[in-house]
Symmetry: C2
């Protein structure tokens, strides 16, 4: 799905995905899905499996070894012989720890309810934050899947409200990001969400006080200049 | 220096290096040295420091963290502002272990005689192997710095002798490579070199027996077809 920084995330358009698959099949092109962020976080499979569309290649990293440095290119059978004909080499790919971490992560993906848990935690966080924002008079949008959320404020074109709010959250022990999507981790618990929501009460109150006098965030000046 | 696979390694030509520096200075281009393999193995600095030529950028990896997964781009002051204007991001670059390993490796580079030791070990291995090869009737060439050697046999265009010999070395507990350069490690000792030389006696004897009947190595057929 679309997860650019600075703007609302957007789910993939099913008609677009189907048409991409059709066009690839008609022309013999390979359909490639970048699942570096979304893989295993939307489904126990490729994120486009939710749309019923199977790519020919998909790219993986990050969570497949729970943060250990490893990445992978998965491919359909029809791409195998071409891939096998490409000579590649690397300095670090015999590292044992990332391989072991990936195997264990994939075991947990298969055997546990991690996905349902991060979805439930993400839903609680999103619902709670949006409610608290509204109670303080702010429109806060959660875009994207709640387990991989991006939070942006309404009427905040240069993100100065967002920056102020995450600073206030940080001062209360909760690290949020003002313009990048975030990731609910399967190691989190309801207590972590409670802590974030408690912090949010104070952070929204502080934002309400400071909002009228907020200056633009210098390093984000390009946003209001229209360079996205 | 030139360290392609399959062919003798070659030291950099000093005139070539000087002229490259001159041309870059005249045109304003950046001179870039790939030190992923040779860095810290030829000198305690960039490998071209032996030639007295300083690059503007140099690329590093592998040994800078003694095998932990980290790489670096080093640059001269004049490249700093341009580099700082490029937005880059990565999944794994906050990994603490490779950073700590790199710091400790660089400390050892500064404080120990690792370089003189790997040079001395490499010289002993090269001299001993070439002598033993000659005694068995083979011409064995060590090209490149002896701490980063490539061993190739004379009259062995498709490397079948090399493959046979490294297989015999492996059967005797010593893992050598038939067509890629290798790296003497600072953790090695004279006893490791002795073990390799002892194994080489038997391996050259076995090669002498088998050489007349050796078949081509199938996966290296492209070498005799002239595709290098």
């Amino acid at each position: 799905f679309k997860h650019d920084a600075f703007i609302d995330q957007a789910p993939p358009n099913p008609a677009y995905a189907r048409r991409a698959r059709e066009l690839c099949d008609q022309t013999g092109a390979l359909l490639i899905v970048d699942d570096v962020r979304a893989g295993l976080r939307m489904a126990r499979d490729c994120s486009w499996s939710l749309l019923g569309i199977e790519p020919d290649l998909s790219t993986w990293g990050k969570c497949i070894a729970n943060g250990h440095p490893i990445s992978a290119l998965l491919g359909a059978e029809k791409a195998r012989s071409a891939a096998a004909s490409i000579y590649v080499t690397g300095s670090f790919w015999y590292q044992a720890a990332p391989m072991a971490a990936a195997l264990e992560t994939l075991r947990l993906v298969r055997d546990t309810d991690y996905l349902e848990r991060i979805e439930a935690l993400g839903d609680r966080l999103a619902t709670g934050l949006v409610e608290r924002a509204a109670a303080a008079g702010f429109g806060l949008r959660c875009s994207g899947p709640t387990q991989m959320p991006l939070y942006l404020f309404d009427d905040d074109p240069d993100l100065r409200k967002g920056f102020c709010w995450v600073s206030q959250m940080l001062a209360r022990g909760v690290y949020m990001h003002p313009w990048h999507n975030m990731f609910i981790c399967a190691a989190m618990t309801d207590a972590d969400i409670d802590q974030a929501l408690d912090a949010a009460d104070g952070a929204f109150a502080a934002l309400k006080q400071q909002a009228p006098g907020l200056a633009p965030v210098e390093k984000l000046a390009f946003l209001s200049a229209g360079q996205r």
